[in-house]
């Protein structure tokens, strides 16, 4: 197991490093004048540097260094990770204890109002007056941004149409379902066509149909509308569908940041289903230097070389085992989240600590003695 875990650790950490380094490289490539503060901000919508927030002795955010690019980014973390504090900080609603940051080029310490005028915030919980009809609620939210009432009304119609409430816009909100309320909140958030939409648990409490529509709407907003979305959610599937990047917070610290694909590549494996001679095949593959995890007839081999499939088949032919199924296995974002949270979480001090922290096992369906989390 130790032999198995060691390379995985290095692989895991190398990808994390690479992801962050890519961000650094991107920063340098796109923003050569970053240090002087003259950077073009089109590609980087949120940036923080050593951002900390303390509530008395309680640390909510600690030395947060983030670099969020344009597009869709998922903000993940368990309860108490600091997501809400982070959102309030970048909205300019609370003052950071130390550190600095910018949102769309505006300083979060001094330009909170300017930030809030350029972003659309979709709160997690109810934020609508149940006795108002949807059209006037959305119109009023536009007026609160400084929109002319007539323009706000026009945009309210367009926004509600966009979120699928065109036919229900004159209904009172108290008659709405949860999905319709969520859609109304999204309409309030996008009425002024913000450059950045902060969606806090947008699919929380929705049934499958409403959830699909909400996710599709967010995807459409990003792809067709060319807008950025910062999406805080506990639903990994939703984040994975909408977002290209994630930021993972834990106890106020950055646990991971980068492209989902890069992070998921940590766990790329080939999964085979073997018939007859599984033990021999396993031994043969290990002998050829492959890293194999086995659960009965199912084996997963770390995908480290392009010739892996040929080598597996060669081993199978040598030992006389039948491979009845072979496919690439890719960890889901939830797998990744669990790996980081459960195996690293409580001891993570920072991303640097994350890099140096040993990984003992991965949460897969392999037995414990083989490096998995199953008993």
């Amino acid at each position: 197991m130790a032999d198995y875990a060691k390379p995985i650790e290095s692989n895991f950490l190398s990808v994390l490093r690479k992801t962050t380094l890519n961000a650094q490289a991107l920063k340098g490539r796109l923003c050569p004048h970053l240090i002087e503060g003259n950077c073009l901000e089109q590609e980087r919508i949120i940036q923080t540097e050593d951002l900390s927030k303390f509530y008395g002795p309680h640390m909510a955010l600690e030395n947060l260094n983030l670099d969020i690019k344009k597009g869709a980014t998922g903000l993940l973390g368990p309860n108490g990770a600091g997501k809400s504090t982070f959102l309030k900080t970048i909205l300019g609603l609370i003052q950071a204890t130390s550190g600095e940051g910018t949102v769309l080029g505006h300083d979060i310490r001094t330009e909170g109002a300017a930030i809030r005028a350029r972003i659309g915030y979709m709160p997690e919980y109810d934020a609508l007056n149940p006795d108002m009809d949807a059209i006037n609620q959305v119109r009023y939210s536009g007026e609160l941004l400084g929109m002319n009432p007539i323009v706000a009304l026009q945009r309210a119609h367009a926004s509600l149409q966009y979120v699928g409430l065109g036919e229900q816009r004159y209904r009172e909100i108290k008659s709405f379902s949860t999905g319709m309320k969520q859609a109304t909140k999204l309409a309030c958030a996008i009425i002024h066509d913000p450059e950045l939409i902060i969606a806090d648990e947008p699919s929380n409490g929705l049934d499958s149909t409403a959830r699909e529509f909400m996710i599709d709407t967010l995807i459409n907003t990003v792809k067709q509308g060319d807008r950025s979305v910062l999406m805080a959610s506990h639903l990994m599937d939703d984040v994975e569908r909408v977002c290209d990047d994630i930021v993972l917070l834990h106890k106020g610290k950055l646990a991971a940041q980068g492209r989902i694909e890069d992070l998921k590549a940590i766990d790329r494996e080939i999964e085979i289903h073997v018939w007859g001679g599984a033990s021999k095949l396993e031994a043969a593959m290990i002998q050829r230097g492959m890293r194999v995890r086995r659960e009965g007839r199912v084996m997963r081999i770390a995908h480290e070389s392009e010739e892996l499939t040929s080598e597996i088949l060669l081993c199978a032919s040598q030992v006389g085992a039948q491979i009845r199924r072979m496919h690439e296995y890719e960890a889901s974002l939830e797998d990744l989240f669990l790996v980081i949270m459960e195996n690293l979480g409580y001891d993570v001090k920072s991303s640097e600590d994350l890099f140096n922290h040993p990984i003992h096992a991965r949460k897969v369906d392999a037995p414990g003695h083989m490096g998995g989390g199953a008993s």
Binding site: A117, P123, N129, E143, L145, G146, D193
Partner: protein, 474 residues
């Protein structure tokens, strides 16, 4: 003809997985196909199973034919219908061919009366070969205005429930098309500019004030609106009686209702009925949910995620509630004064004499509005409902007054009046209007100081509570 074939009934039903259709076959059995059937080189007694994209099968007589997706080959006989799933193609069947049953061994446990499940989306069964070509999916067109109206339901037309002799034109309604889309999601950008701070503040003020008069703004309750209208007209009672006294010319009647020092004071600060039945209840109804309902419904997030700071938020709420009260108290005072001038043709000398008194009453009204609003909003800010702030405000105004009266009557001490907002206002108002004071045991400055303290405490509570309101869930 083989023996097996001879045993076949003349007409066999052929159930399908979806919408089974009994096929009134005559000679022999139908031959359902799974997907994309192709010409079948049928030989004698040779069933031809079709998989996905089947190919001509060079079958020999006794060969078993494995099936991929449940195709059920049946020996074709004369004029056999060909049930088609997707993209059927013409079968190169020539003249009625005798189709003897397959010779054993047959891997397919088909019996003569065996149901024939369709693999994928069975479609109406074209009976003849020329019809089959028209049914191809690519050729199906949407119904047009020229499409004959047959009265058949759509599903009936699509899947058929008749004997299979449908008119081919009825197939038009099941064509694949990208039209008919009810909702198309298009993100519409907006390139307008947002107005500055004053416009946002005006939006809050407008939202609350216009809500009294019309739908689409802050939804004040119907009882609140009705009560406000009643109080407004009730507050104009002295103006109406002044006008009446001018019409009837009764000097004694006018001295009772017309503008004078006591009546100007009484219009704003008179205890009964105005400060018992009118103004405290108006204030209670107005302040009740102004802030507390933002907490209750979470609409504070709507404000604070916008470029609106706490001062603007509470300031505009305060101003809107005060403005509505001012319409009832100050505006009616002004109308009362104006009625006296207009009805009796008062000249400048009278105006110069009475205007300071009017200003004193107006200032007293402003103090009343400020005090009631401050206390009411402070109560609203600590609550999540509109009931508690309203009742709390009434309890403070009327309860302290009642307590002070009791103490005065029992102990002949007026000091507790300093705890009563109304009595402090009345004491200061009597000084401003310079009418006969009713509080003899202490100076009016104590009442003014008490009012200042009350307002300071209320505003402190209000500001601290509003500053702690969250954009996220509280």
């Amino acid at each position: 003809m083989s023996e097996d074939e001879e045993n076949l009934p003349q007409s066999q039903p052929q159930p399908m997985a979806i919408a089974p259709q009994p096929l009134p076959l005559t000679q022999a059995q139908p031959q359902p196909m799974a997907i994309a059937p192709q010409p079948l080189p049928l030989t004698q007694a040779q069933p031809q199973p079709m998989a996905i994209a089947p190919q001509p099968l060079p079958l020999t007589q006794a060969q078993p034919q494995p099936m991929a997706i449940a195709p059920q080959p049946l020996p074709l006989t004369q004029a056999q219908p060909q049930p088609m799933a997707i993209a059927p193609q013409p079968l190169p069947l020539t003249q009625p061919q005798p189709q003897p049953m397959a010779i054993a061994p047959q891997p397919l446990p088909l019996t003569q009366a065996q149901p024939q499940p369709m693999a994928i989306a069975p479609q109406p069964l074209p009976l003849t070969q020329p019809q089959v070509q028209h049914v191809a999916t690519e050729d199906i067109q949407m119904a047009t205005a020229e499409t004959p109206v047959t009265g058949q339901a759509r599903m009936d037309t699509a899947w058929g429930s008749s004997e299979g002799d449908e008119n081919i034109s009825e197939m038009a309604s099941i064509g694949q098309t990208d039209s008919g889309e009810i909702f198309k999601q298009n993100y519409e950008p907006w390139r307008g500019e947002l107005n500055p701070r004053w416009m946002r503040n005006w939006a809050i003020l407008r939202h609350h004030i216009l809500g009294i008069f019309k739908k689409g703004h802050r939804p004040w309750g119907v009882p609140t609106r009705i009560f406000l209208v009643l109080v407004f007209f009730a507050s104009l009672s002295d103006a109406a009686l002044t006008l009446l006294s001018s019409l009837i010319g009764d000097a004694e009647f006018h001295s009772f209702w017309g503008v004078n020092r006591d009546n100007l004071y009484g219009h704003v600060l008179g205890f009964f009925p105005r400060n018992v039945m009118y103004y405290p209840i108006v204030a209670a109804l107005l302040v009740g949910g102004v802030i507390s309902e933002d907490r209750l419904h979470g609409t504070s997030a709507l404000y604070f995620s916008r470029p609106i700071n706490r001062f603007d938020y509470v300031g505009m709420k305060y101003a809107s509630v005060a403005f509505i009260q001012a319409i009832i108290i100050i505006f009616t005072l002004f109308l009362y004064y104006l009625t006296e001038i207009m009805a009796f043709g008062r000249g400048w000398a009278w105006i110069v004499d009475t205007f300071p008194i009017f200003l004193g009453a107006l200032l007293g009204g402003v103090l009343l509005i400020i005090t009631y609003t401050s206390i009411g909003l402070a109560l609203s800010s600590v609550s999540k409902g509109k009931f508690f702030p309203g009742i709390g405000l009434l309890a403070i105004i009327l309860g302290t007054k009642t307590l002070a009266i009791i103490v005065k009557n029992l102990f002949d001490r007026e000091i507790l009046y300093l705890l009563s907002p109304y009595d402090c206002l009345a004491h200061v108002g009597q000084t401003l209007v310079n009418t006969q004071p009713t509080y003899d045991q202490y100076s009016w400055t104590w009442s003014l100081a008490s009012l200042i303290v009350m307002n300071a405490i209320a505003l402190y509570v209000l500001s601290s509570r509003v500053s702690s309101m969250e954009v996220t869930r509280e």
